[in-house]
Each structure stands twice: as C-alpha cells, then as structure tokens.
C-alpha cells in the first residue's frame, strides 16, 4: 500500500496564488457582440456558477455576433478529499521482461489480445499506440511482448465481426478504442460489442477494455467493461492489467 499523500478529513480548494484561495479560470463564448452588457453577462454566468470576486480578463470579438471571454474568479466550494469514491484501475506494475516471464510462467501460454477501433470510428491512433510493436512514448506496444499473441485489426471494424474474431481466436482480452464521441456515439458502439460477446456466449471469457481520449475507468465500468483507460495511457499499464485479469479468471492473484 502506497503511503497516503493526503490527510484524513482534508478539505480541498483550488490553489491559485495562495492556499485555498479558490481561484479558477474560465473561457467561453457568448453569442452576442462585445460591449458592457456582454461583459456583465459573462460575469453573471461566472457568478451563477458559484464564483466570487469575478474578473472578466478578456472580452474579444470572435466573430460578428460572438464574443470570447476569459474570466477569473474564486469559488467558495471545497471538497472532502478522503470521502470521494473513485473507481481506479489497480495495476501492479512489472517491467517488460519481468512481466513476460511472469505471465508465461503463471498463465502457461500466450495471452490472446485483440484490438480494434470499432463501428464507424476511423481513428486508429489510440489503438495503434497501445498495440503496435513500436508503442508510445518509448513504452513498447503489446505486439512486442512475448507473453501476448496480439492482433491489431485497425479501424472501422464491425462489432459483430470483432466478437466473431474474439471467439474464433479464443481471445483472452479485447481492446476497443473509441475516438469519435459526437452525440455519444462511442457509448452506444461500446455497448454493442458487449452485446455481441454475450450473444456468442463468450463475454465471461474475455476481458473487455475500453480506451480513448474521452474514456475513463468509471465510464467504462458503467458501460459494462472491465476497465477503461484514458489519454496518456502507456501500453505497459494495459499489459499489466491484462495479465492481472487473466490470472484472476484462473483463480490466481498477480503478485
């Protein structure tokens, strides 16, 4: 257990210049031309958000009937840090060689991982960063690990097709990347894959992982996934999580 980096009962407030001053900055556009009434409207928006000592730092015409604002203010709210409930992906982290050796020994075979960008989503940057040999930010991708049999199916893979491949290849884990989030298309798409896995009767055998710039663990779990990884995630974090999940299904704990 890591030593806690906060005090029990600690109340948190944003920190600008001095502890607990509550200073926050905001920027937004109002669909009116600039002027004193517009400035007051911007300030009022901030006040209604609970900000005090509001200061409209910039008011600029962003187009003929639109004004861009930068607003500063102080919020009086505070947060009980210890009382928050935060589902977190708990990953015990091993290095590249250590994880390979450990997983091959404990699982006794290579772990099959399938990755794809599903549905209509054509943005393969995220899945590529996690899956491809080269990886991301100097951290090797899953294809590079001896303990994984990793296949990246790329972009615009249909959910039914992905589920079928998972069954055919007896996948242990499926990684789904969702980048396009307009009108929550990513949520529906993500749920659909789980439905397909259920339909084939393999949901229980496959660890389902969701990733993307607007994904976090909480959302992924809400959608029915085993884990969610947001922006900046390194392949090694996903690798460690998958090994832990596979061991857990085997009734073992990752040490």
């Amino acid at each position: 257990m890591r030593p806690r980096d906060w005090e029990p009962g600690q109340m948190l407030r944003p920190y600008g210049d001095r502890r607990d001053d509550g200073v926050v900055q905001l920027s937004f556009v109002l669909p009116v031309p600039p002027g004193e009434r517009a400035r007051e409207a911007a300030a009022e928006v901030a006040r209604k958000m609970g900000m005090e000592q509001v200061h409209v730092a910039a008011m600029e015409p962003a187009a003929e009937r639109y004004t861009f604002f930068v607003v500063y203010g102080r919020t009086s709210v505070s947060v009980d840090y210890a009382a928050l409930s935060v589902p977190e992906v708990v990953v015990r982290k091993k290095g590249f060689d250590e994880l390979n050796e450990y997983a091959l020994r404990e699982v006794g075979r290579r772990i099959v991982v399938i990755g794809a960008c599903t549905g209509s989503d054509a943005h393969a940057v995220g899945i590529d960063a996690i899956m491809n040999m080269k990886g991301f930010a100097g951290d090797y991708g899953l294809e590079r690990y001896a303990c994984f049999e990793a296949a990246n199916l790329g972009a615009q893979v249909e959910n039914a097709e992905l589920a079928r491949i998972c069954k055919e290849r007896e996948a242990d884990a499926v990684l789904v990347s969702q980048v396009v989030t307009q009108r929550d298309v990513h949520k529906e798409n993500a749920r659909q894959l789980l439905g397909e896995l259920e339909r084939l009767g393999i949901r229980g055998r496959v660890t389902a992982i969701l990733g993307g710039p607007r994904i976090d663990h909480r959302l992924a779990v809400e959608l029915g996934y085993d884990a969610g990884f947001g922006p900046g995630t390194k392949p090694s974090e996903v690798a460690n999580f998958i090994v832990g999940a596979v061991l857990k299904r085997m009734g073992k704990e990752m040490h």
Partner: protein, 523 residues
Amino acid sequence: MLLTDGRHVPDLPLDRAAVDRCRALADQVTAQVLGFVGRHSTVSIERTVLRLYGLHDAGPRGVPLVNLAVDALHEKRLLGRGAAYWMGYALRRGATDPMGVVERLVALPANPEPLPEAEERAMLEEMRREARANVDELRARVRRRNALKDELGVGPRPHKYLIVATGNIHDDVEQALAAAQAGADVIAVIRSTAQSLLDYVPHGATTEGYGGTYATQENFRIMREALDDESRRLKRYVHLTNYSSGLCMPEIAFAAAWERLDMLLNDAMYGILFRDINMKRTLCDQHFSRRICALADVIINTGEDNYITTADADEAAHTVIASQFVNESFAHRAGLPDRLIGLGHSFEIDPGREDTVAREFAQALLVRTLFPEAPIKYMPPTKHKQGDIFFSHAYDVMADVVGYVTGQGIQLLGMMTEAMHNPFLMDRYVALKSADYVYRAWRSMGAEITFRPDGVVQRRAQETLREALALLEEVARDGLFQAIGKARFGDVAREEDGGKGLAGVLERGPRYFNPFLELMEAR
C-alpha cells in the same frame, strides 16, 4: 529562394541530380500504374459519367439513380462498354428522362440487341455533343467562381484553413461564417465518419451526421452559396474544400466541381493505406477524379501527413517525400498543373525530443524547395496532442512559425482542443488570432534567415532526400502494388486483391465509350 507569389524562403541547396532522379523514378512508378488504369474502369467512374450527363437525383428510398443504373449494367457484365454507351442506347430506345434511362438500363437483357450501325454512329456523336455541352457548362460555372475570386482577392499566404464538423450543414454554415469573419481563408467541412466506405454518395442536405457532415452535392451547394455571400460582404474570397476520397472519389470530385468548390482532399494512396480500399480501385478512381479537378481548376490536397501519424514522423520523413513525388507524377498524368497540386505534410515530430524545430524546418523547407510552384498544405500537430490546451496552443504556434517562414501555401490551423473534441468557436478564434500574430511578427524572416551550410537543418534535409531517393529506387524496381504490400508507406501493408471495392473494378472492353475521358485527355 523567391517564390512566384513574391515570398522569400530560406535557400536550401540540394543535389539537383538526385531530385531529377526522384522525379524520373516516380514517373516510372506511375507509368506502370497508368497502364493498368488505362485498361480498366470502376463503378464509381461510370457513375460519375452518368452524373456528368445530369443524372443527379435519387430514386425511391434515396438510392442515387446512378447507382441503380450502374449496378444493373455491372451485374449483366455490360459495363465494359461504358455507361455512356448504354445511356445513349436507352435514349435511342425511347427513354426521355433520367428515370426512364434508369428503367431501361435495369430492364436490359444480358445480350442486348445491337443498334444498327448508322444509328449507333449517330448515337455516339449525339452523346459526344452532349458531353461537350455539359463540360462547357461546368467550365462556365468554374469561370464564375474564378471571376469572384479575382474580383474580391484572397487573403495572404499561407491561407488559413479551418475545419467545421457539426453534423448539420446549417450549423456548419453558421460556424463557417464565424470562422470567415475571424479571418479564415479556407473552410473544410469534415465528412461524416465512414463515408469513405459508402459505395454511393448520399443525397440531399445533412442534418444528422456523425463525426461530421456527409459530402453531398446539396451540402456543397448550401455552403458555397453562403460563403459567396460572406466573401462579398467581407470583400475577401473564402475558399471551400471537401474530401474526394474513399469509394466515391470521382463522384465527389464531380459534385464539388459542379458546385464550385476550390479544393479537394485527393490522395492517390490514402484510401488504400488508411481505409483499406482496394488499391486497383483507388488508383483508377484517383486518376479520373483528378481529371475532373484538372478540368474544373480545383486544387488537390494530398494526404502524406497521415503517414506520420501512424509511423514515427522523424523516421518516416523520407516516405512523405517519396510519396509526394509519386502523387505529383500521378497528378501530372491526370493533367493537373503544379499550381493545382497541393502536396500535404505536417508538423508531427514528437515534441518530447530535442531539436525538433530544426528538423521540422528541414522537412518543411525540403518540401517547399522540391515543389516550388505547388500550393503546399501544411498540417498542424495531432498525434502527440493531449488535453493540456495551454501547451497545445503553444505547440500549434510553433507549427505556424515553421509554416510561415518556409512559405507553405495552405496552413491548417491547429486546435488547442485537438485531442478532445471537434473545434469550438473559441478554439478557432484563438488559433486565428495567434496565426495572425505569427504572420505579422515573422513577416521578413523568411528572407532574412540563412541556414548554416552543413548545419543541422541542411544536413537533415539532404539526408531525407537521399533516403527518399533510395525508397523510390526500390518502389520503381518492385512496382507500387508490391511496395504497398511491403508497408513502405505509413507502416501499413495492403494486398493487391485485398480491401474494399475490388468488385467494382472492371476491364474496359475493346469498344469502351467514355466521351468525357476523351475530352479530358484531349485537353
């Protein structure tokens, strides 16, 4: 170096013999492909021919008439004669309107009775005359566009290019006008996700698109008319661009040409590599779509920037250059002059490394120097963008500086919220404001800067050119199909007979008839 538009960029000495050799090799590569293209057609090319004849509408359930007609011909293996021939045939047999043509084509037997020789000759002449009239009308529309551009004038280069992507064409118009008022020179309407894989062009105005707005002829018309009005009000011509890519490359090129768009994303290899479209299909389609762009004075933008979002930007820099030579040669073979060949590249080297600006300067200047007349399109960083919008903004400004000093033609402005969501109004505003600052502040620096002989920038550019030459030697030896099979571009491998859309490729018969191609090739 002095550019023809009067801008100065720093000099970059290059090995002339190596540059000439790159061009000669690229010509060899495309010559092999053009042989194939000349013997084949595709369903999308034939649909475009029918659209050029005025079959714009959709039938029951929204299926475009051209799809109904061409699918019927293809199924009966009649398409090798050319859709134009069969349209003429249907007219001779009594069709009087587009729906009548379609009905007759659908009802054709597998072995239609041939027309009497004299009648056939007269029919072909009639179809040629009609084609000439329609091309003249298209050219007249393009002249109207160019006249407005000449009358109002355009903004300073690089042209500031901004994206709208709401999914509703009417909201797109509102955002595009706001962007134009804030200084945008080019508006791109992002297409709905996965449109590239549709083997038809949706019909009508879009109000519910995902990830963007469908490229349809009606959407093009709505946006161009709104921008015409706004251009007149602002007394500055605002360009419009869209995407001629995917399975309907040439049809979208036609719709764009007809509705007076100024530019089109159009890459010879992008669909193959990044959308897994069959290479034979795309290579045929790109040629015909570029013929239309040449006819309608539309600037094409190629997609080499995409290579370095998959492969490492620094390691794959030479693949961008090699591909640009190939794209240039394909464009020349389709009749496009240099002033319409907007080769693409981008500012994508991992910002966590050292000396990235020197290496970006080297790359941007190399592209500029190799293709001095081309309206080069420079893309901002995307791959290494994350949620810190403040850093992201600074990072975009760095790309603006490199683009401005190296005299690029079109500068796609980076969005500080790139990694998060479609651009907001305020994202565009701050991007335009800082780009204007860069253009003012760096005004004379292109002419002032001299890079040290044998310094980091010059050596890096020369090294990239050498590597591009080596790659082109290999591609010319193996052929383009094989080179793509070996993942030489963008780290993506594709098979000759894999991917989507191969079923839509067909051999031209000995009496293939395409009067538009005849006119375009004679230009």
